[in-house]
């Protein structure tokens, strides 16, 4: 037991000194997360604001003007009043506007007659995401307008349009509140998989691993010697990201710290297990970086529901996404930040992560060998 503790002291002290003295691991563990947070927090804004749109109104009636005024008031749009459709089309072709809203000359009279008055919307669909956003904003403005008119009991108000949108949790529909909790997943993946794989490959390249193997180190010592320091580093990165998210970006955090620590530990262990499993097979830093990006980082980015809604992906992708640990933690993190300790969501996701941690670490333990050949 004393010998075990002595070995652990030696190996942990060595890792700690290496992390502290090697600028690249500090950069990867602490600077990179901050950089990602600021890029995604400030730079990538999935909300559309001041979208230039052209309005063609052949109707000079009061009601049409009222609706146009609603568009003018909206922070989402920047209006170009054009005379005719040709002009509007040339604007959309030259990409000066992203959409055209058109009211027909009988817009007011149709409404007065109590009929459905169509509002035509043409959206530049090159950026599908943005197009969908613009669609939503326009529909919102139009339906809000018609509801308001109905409430006021104005003439020709007609039946209210039943298409109503309401966004839960992310009341402001601010994408930042959605992105940043997800980003924490990415940061932890980076430390758990990329950093561990790199560090172990470096030990192989420099020949220190060979020397380690010919010491009385047990396999479990080698495993713990890597898990403990990088677990701590990963949790520090996580903690830092949460603090920055709440203070700098004003993202609400509604869950409990206990739940966060517990669940993120499970995710960290699963990531570390995966990283260790990879590095048991890879002995070159360059390859370790490539493989951990392709097998660890990219799935966490694209298949976790962080950027793309998984429900709208093809079934195959949805099936594949089940083996990506990040998917479960993105859900957990979103829930903790925006909804709170909803255990009916947290528990199943947490259990999957726990199972993954056990499986990956178990495989890594089996894979670690005190010999040079597999």
């Amino acid at each position: 037991m004393i010998l075990f503790l002595m070995r652990m002291r030696g190996i942990l002290k060595k890792e700690a000194l290496q992390i502290l003295r090697d600028p690249s691991s500090i950069a990867l563990a602490l600077v990179m997360p901050l950089l990602l947070l600021f890029i995604f927090g400030y730079g990538v804004n999935l909300d559309a604001e001041h979208v230039p749109i052209a309005i063609v109104s052949d109707d000079r009636g009061e009601m049409a003007q009222d609706l146009i005024a609603r568009f003018e008031l909206s922070p989402h749009f920047e209006l170009y009043q054009v005379k005719n459709e040709l002009e509007a089309e040339s604007l959309i072709l030259s990409r000066d506007v992203d959409a055209i809203v058109r009211l027909q000359d009988d817009f007011s009279s149709q409404l007065l007659r109590g009929e459905q008055a169509p509002v035509q919307l043409i959206v530049n669909g090159i950026d599908a995401n943005r197009a969908r956003l613009i669609q939503g904003y326009v529909r919102n403005i139009v339906s809000n307008w018609s509801r308001m008119r109905q409430e006021r009991g104005e003439a020709g108000a007609g039946p209210p349009v039943s298409v109503s949108q309401r966004i839960w949790f992310n009341e402001g529909a601010e994408s930042r509140n959605f992105m940043i909790p997800g980003l924490i997943t990415l940061i932890m993946t980076l430390i758990g998989i990329l950093l561990t794989a790199l560090v172990i490959a470096r030990e192989w390249e420099r020949g220190t691993m060979e020397a380690m193997l010919v010491t009385p180190l047990r396999r479990v010592d080698i495993l713990l010697g890597k898990i403990i320091p990088y677990y701590i580093l990963g949790m520090l990165g996580m903690g830092m990201s949460v603090v920055v998210a709440v203070t700098v970006f004003q993202v609400p955090f509604r869950g409990s710290i206990t739940a966060l620590l517990l669940l993120s530990s499970l995710f960290m262990l699963a990531s570390l297990g995966f990283g260790l499993l990879l590095s048991a097979a890879i002995r070159i830093q360059f390859v370790a970086a490539q493989i951990s990006i392709v097998a660890g980082f990219l799935p966490a980015f694209f298949l976790s529901g962080l950027i793309f809604d998984l429900d709208s992906t093809p079934p195959v992708i949805q099936i594949v996404s089940h083996i990506v640990p990040a998917k479960y933690f993105v859900t957990i993190s979103h829930t903790l930040f925006m909804a709170g300790d909803i255990w009916s969501v947290l528990l199943p996701n947490g259990l999957v992560l726990a199972a993954m941690a056990v499986i990956f670490l178990g495989l890594a333990y089996r894979k670690i060998s005190k010999r040079l050949e597999g």
Binding site: G10, K14, R21, L213, P216, L217, R371
Partner: protein
């Protein structure tokens, strides 16, 4: 069993097994290769290493030395047979073995970011050295390795020799019963090598431990108490060093050139001659190993040359060269026949390379300090010194790859940093790591380098064919360069540097990491190019290779220690105690400052004239 059981002075087999601290029984090791028959790294090896002795494992690259040591360390599992250490099985009891032995891998196993003392503490923790014993143990190891002054320095900032000693200290942290050293002296200067052997013997004598050490330096075999010669995975011979040299009695001669003939000409004549197993230049004489005790064939080969034949004391290297089967096509060098590399132009006393007061600063670190030398046409000029002496930096400045901080350089009348492609086309450069494209085949590499130097069409084809013939690369034509054996990589790199028939050849550490055979062949080839008028500037940290140079400059820490012909350099350390010093002696004397500085200065000044007179 072994092909040549030379001398079993270890007593009876049973006796040996009793004291054996490491023994191998019929060990075979195969490495699987995709789509090909497995490589036989070790074939039926049986051996013993005894307590209180230094057992040396000697062999060329690829002989299987590292594989055998790794099996003993428990890092590899033998395909068949077994290795026992301290009476324990290397596979089943590896953990127990690992707590009782010390192992130093080729790369030393040090953590670069940790200081000297932190590295030692790490290994002490891992080996479970009790806290109370540590202070005493650290003191002893630090004073032994002379590292006490550097305990706070990071391992990454140590010199090669210091790293090696620290690696040794870490392997010794828990007074091991057996010490395994895998090529501990590769790439380390002679002083550090000497010190390492001193430490090893101190341990053997004081602690009575067993040492099992592999080496490719043949002179180190003589320092072992028992030697095992491995060749291509087979145990070729074993015995104590004296038994090896004893077999060579009356088969080694020194050919002393008469005044006029330079030893190189005799050497070139003798290599590959009938009845001659090996020829090398040593201390201004040609050392010849004969097939038998008769001198007739040697005399016949020397016919017409003014030279005296003297008997010589055989050494281990002679025995080694005689043991290795000569059927593998070593020394197949086309000598001066047909089209050579460069064309002789002008007279011999043209100065081709010239530097004056050359300095290079990296930040405030002086890599090269006031270096002045000149090289004449057709000369082989050696830049010698340990790792970090500034050789490569000097080289890069000569080739125009690095700007000099101050001083003048001219190569073929140009400063290559400023003048363009035309001047560069006159020189061939072979970089330290051979700089080949690993994924390209031999043919593709040659064709690429030819085109880079402006060859095309028929001319390119001709030169590539020349390279295949001259360097014996035909069988590797379509093989990817990374898969070539070390010696062939070196040949290919040299062929690539010579394709465009340069008249100046820069070779940076062409022989490091290359086994004794490839090194011999390399020097032979260099000789023949020089004889055709190519100027060769070469760096090396093998001091004995300096003998092949016409003149040389010894550097240490950026400074010139001495310059002159090999004989002049050796003369600097000649003394009554050491009437016939070797290059190693000379270097150590110069580096340690035991040689009178005035005599160096005088020697250096005189050398210029003498060398030029010598050449004309």
């Amino acid at each position: 069993m072994t092909d040549a059981q030379i001398n079993d002075d270890q007593g009876t087999k049973a006796d040996a097994q009793e004291q054996a601290i490491l023994s191998a029984e019929c060990v075979c090791k195969e490495f699987a290769v995709k789509g090909k028959p497995p490589v036989q790294a070790l074939q039926d090896i049986s051996l013993h290493a005894l307590k209180g002795r230094v057992t040396g494992l000697v062999g060329a690259d690829g002989a299987g030395k590292t594989t055998l040591i790794r099996i003993a360390a428990g890092l590899l599992v033998p395909t068949s047979g077994r290795v026992t250490l301290l009476g324990l099985d290397s596979v089943a009891d590896s953990l127990e073995i690992q707590s009782r032995i010390g192992y130093m891998p080729q790369k030393f196993g040090l953590y670069q970011d940790l200081t000297v003392i932190e590295n030692m503490e790490l290994y002490a923790d891992l080996q479970g050295v009790p806290g109370a014993e540590r202070a005493h143990r650290y003191d002893r190891l630090l004073s032994m390795t002379d590292l006490a002054k550097y305990t706070k320095r990071r391992a990454g900032a140590l010199s090669g020799g210091m790293k090696q000693k620290l690696g040794l200290a870490c392997a010794l942290i828990k007074s091991p019963e057996l010490l395994l050293l895998d090529e501990p002296t590769v790439g380390v200067d002679p002083i550090s090598r000497r010190e390492l052997w001193k430490i090893v013997y101190e341990l053997v004598e004081q602690d009575n431990i067993g040492v099992f050490v592999s080496t490719a330096y043949l002179d180190e075999a003589e320092r072992c108490s028992y030697v095992l010669v491995l060749h291509q995975g087979k145990l070729l011979a074993e015995g104590n060093p004296e038994s090896f040299t004893g077999r060579m009695k009356d088969r080694v001669s020194l050919v002393v050139p008469a005044q006029a003939d330079r030893p190189r000409q005799i050497y070139t004549r003798l290599v590959g001659s009938r009845g001659i197993v090996d020829a090398t230049i040593r201390s201004g004489r040609v050392r010849v190993v004969r097939e038998d005790t008769s001198e007739t064939q040697l005399a016949a080969a020397l016919d017409g040359m003014h030279a005296k034949i003297e008997p010589a004391e055989p050494n281990f290297e002679d025995a080694f060269m005689a043991l290795i089967p000569q059927t593998e096509g070593h020394f197949q060098v086309g000598r001066g026949e047909g089209e050579g590399a460069g064309k002789m132009q002008g007279s011999n006393d043209d100065i081709v390379v010239n530097t004056r007061e050359l300095c290079k600063l990296f930040g405030d670190f002086q890599a090269v300090k006031k270096l002045s030398f000149s090289v004449n046409r057709g000369e082989i000029f050696g830049l010698l010194g340990p790792n970090g002496a500034g050789k490569s930096t000097t080289f890069r400045m000569l080739c125009g790859l690095l700007p000099a901080t101050s001083g003048e350089i001219s190569v073929a009348g140009h400063n290559l940093l400023r003048s363009g492609a035309k001047a560069r086309a006159r020189l061939g450069y072979m970089a330290q790591q051979f700089s080949l494209y690993g994924q390209l085949s031999t043919l593709e590499n040659l064709s690429f380098f030819g085109k880079v130097y402006g060859l095309s069409g028929k001319r390119l084809k001709q030169r590539i064919n020349w390279a295949f013939d001259e360097f014996g690369l035909g069988q590797w034509r379509d093989k990817a360069a990374f898969a070539l054996p070390g010696g062939y990589k070196q040949r290919l790199a040299m062929a690539a540097a010579l394709l465009h028939e340069p008249d100046i050849l820069f070779l940076d550490e062409p022989t490091s990491g290359v086994d004794p055979f490839a090194r011999r062949e390399f020097w032979l080839r260099i000789n023949s190019f020089a004889e055709q008028g190519v100027t060769v500037v070469v760096t090396t940290h093998f001091m004995e290779e300096a003998e092949y140079c016409d003149r040389m400059l010894i550097m240490s820490q950026g400074e010139t220690l001495a310059m002159g012909t090999p004989a002049e350099i050796r003369d600097l350390v000649r003394s009554p105690q050491n009437p016939r010093p070797t290059m190693d002696d000379a270097f150590i004397g110069l580096a340690e400052g035991t040689v009178d500085k005035a005599s160096i200065a005088a020697g250096t000044a005189g050398n210029e004239e003498m060398a030029q007179g010598d050449l004309s």
